[in-house]
Amino acid sequence: MKKYTYTEKQDTRSGFGDGMTELGRSNPKVVTLCADLVGSLKTATFIKENPSRFFQTGIAEANMMGIAAGLTIGGYIPYPTTFANFGSGRVYDQIRQSIAYSNKNVKIAVSHAGLTLGEDGATHQILEDIAMMRAMPNMTVINPCDYNQTKAATIALADHVGPAYLRFGRPKVPIFTDPNQKFEIGKAWTVNEGKDVSIFATGHLVWEAIQAGEILAEKGIDAEIINIHTIKPLDTAAILKSVRKTKCVVTCEEHQANGGLGDAVAQTLAQNFLAPQEYVAVNNSFGESGTPEQLMAKYGLSAEAIVEKTLKVIGRKN
């Protein structure tokens, strides 16, 4: 098992904010909007340096999505920002008609995705957004795993043409990816090569998968761990190559099992190469208040849960 260490923890939303700061300096076409959550989205520096390229919409997310679509018409690259819950389900139809169907170059950037926003509870813990967004034609869906990767993804999206949904989170998590990485949309990153099981993880679950890989290594299990930061378009070539080798799969996501990364992988396998699969995901339930650690443990999204599902799926191999 390849060794991953970290010296610092940082929230992925700060990766977004710092990516925006860089874009503010390097790309005069980048603009951002926010529905009364500037502090949470970490865009204060971008706004300070480029006040004319920021639009405060107030608590009015539907209008924000429409304005973002309109800004593209004059050649701008808008990043509308809010919490993931209010930037997906609340405004699904606005995104669908004004952005996705109209194929506008809007980069929806949303924080506080999943359970790890913690104490605010289920009203804010969106666990269905990947499913909604990947169902939408034209939409690119990205869920990076740490500060560095979120920053790199934020910057890379400005050069990508078309609608995108960039999902990140609230808590401080280990920084373990290369600060100088080149973020390639749609290209999975092999965290560790292995032969016994394919662990496909996205977002905060990538670090958990690495922890699980170390525990599994002690048990003599050689896990292949792949970071699927882009859920759509899915890197099916990397997925199939890995599963053809390992013959079994565990998918890990801070999201419902219904419609998320796991289902995207299952769809690929069903059509190309059958293999047993286990899901590390929330099982058809809403979240609740608690600390991020408590919630990840209670809802089965921890390294321990990944180990357990891995042992199970290896047992299902014939």
Partner: protein, 288 residues
């Protein structure tokens, strides 16, 4: 262009509308007929649009519309009038109007950029979204130091959508004064009169209270009044406030039996009704 010439074009557009909805036995003639005079006045006289021609001699359409006035149709169901005016203005061959709502057509039931039809800048149909998009386009004009205006048309029934009021708050707050919004006040919607279905009450007072400069066009089916109203709107734009035009129209205007109720909001005439409608609408430029 003289008023009479605009009226002649409007008569042809009205013929197009009833023939298009008859041709596919579906679509929305009522609101289309009511807004014909506005769209003709905008596209043939009041909006500054590029006359540069491209492939096939049609007007070349650029999505960014730099240094052009832009028009957004928020109440996308009145697509027949939009398509007819765009083709008659020269964006594409009027013969294509015959494909309206049919399989493999660029003229979808509701306008879309998806099929690449020149003149369309965003999809609309799901109501309440157009003014937000128009505000975004207006902001991009300001960022580009482009002094042209952005027009957006909404229905009066559409005022029942919450997003409209989110946009209504934003535009005055951010001084989007290159935005000229128009409400087609025909007092009808699918289920009945707006007074019965969901009373809009005093739209003028509402927009005023939100910080808009509000004006009216007392008869949106009188070309001279429409032209006068649009001239005034342009004159008072650029002064720190967005402009709202409350335009009084008659749903179905130009075809007597389609006027005076919500009945013709979303149904097509049969052969006999088509003939009766066409008899009231002189063919001026030539049918497609």
């Amino acid at each position: 262009m003289q008023i009479k010439e605009l009226e002649d074009i409007a008569s042809q557009v009205r013929r197009d509308i009833v023939r298009m909805v008859h041709g596919c036995a579906s679509g929305h003639p009522g609101g289309s007929l009511g807004c014909t005079d506005l769209l003709v006045a905008l596209y043939f006289q009041q909006m500054k649009i590029s006359n540069r021609k491209g492939k096939g001699g049609y007007l070349s359409f650029k999505m960014d519309g730099l240094n052009e006035d832009l028009f957004f149709l928020s109440n996308g169901h009145i697509s027949p009038v939009f398509y007819s005016v765009l083709s008659r203005r020269g964006y594409f061959d009027p013969a294509e109007l015959a494909t309206f709502r049919k399989i493999d057509s660029r003229l979808q039931g509701h306008p879309t950029t998806h099929e690449g039809l020149p003149g369309i800048r965003v999809a609309s149909g799901s109501l309440g979204q157009g003014m937000s998009v128009a505000i975004g386009a207006a902001l991009s004009k300001k960022l580009n130091n482009d002094d042209k205006n952005v027009f957006v048309l909404m229905g009066d029934g559409e005022q029942q959508e919450g997003q409209v009021w989110e946009a209504a708050q934003f535009a005055p707050h951010h001084k989007v004064d290159n935005l000229i919004a128009i409400i087609d006040l025909n007092h009808q919607q699918i289920d009945g009169s707006t007074d019965e279905v969901m009373n809009n009450r005093d739209l003028k007072a509402k927009y005023k209270a939100f910080g808009w400069r509000v004006m009216e066009i007392a008869n949106g089916n009188d070309m001279e009044e429409v032209v006068k109203g649009l001239r005034k709107a342009k004159r008072i734009s650029g002064k720190g406030q967005p402009i709202m035009i409350i335009m009084h129209t008659e749903m179905g205007a130009g075809v007597d039996f389609m006027m005076g109720s919500h009945k013709w909001h979303g149904i097509a005439p049969n052969d006999e009704q088509l003939a009766a409608a066409l008899a009231q609408l002189p063919e001026t430029i030539g049918d497609y």
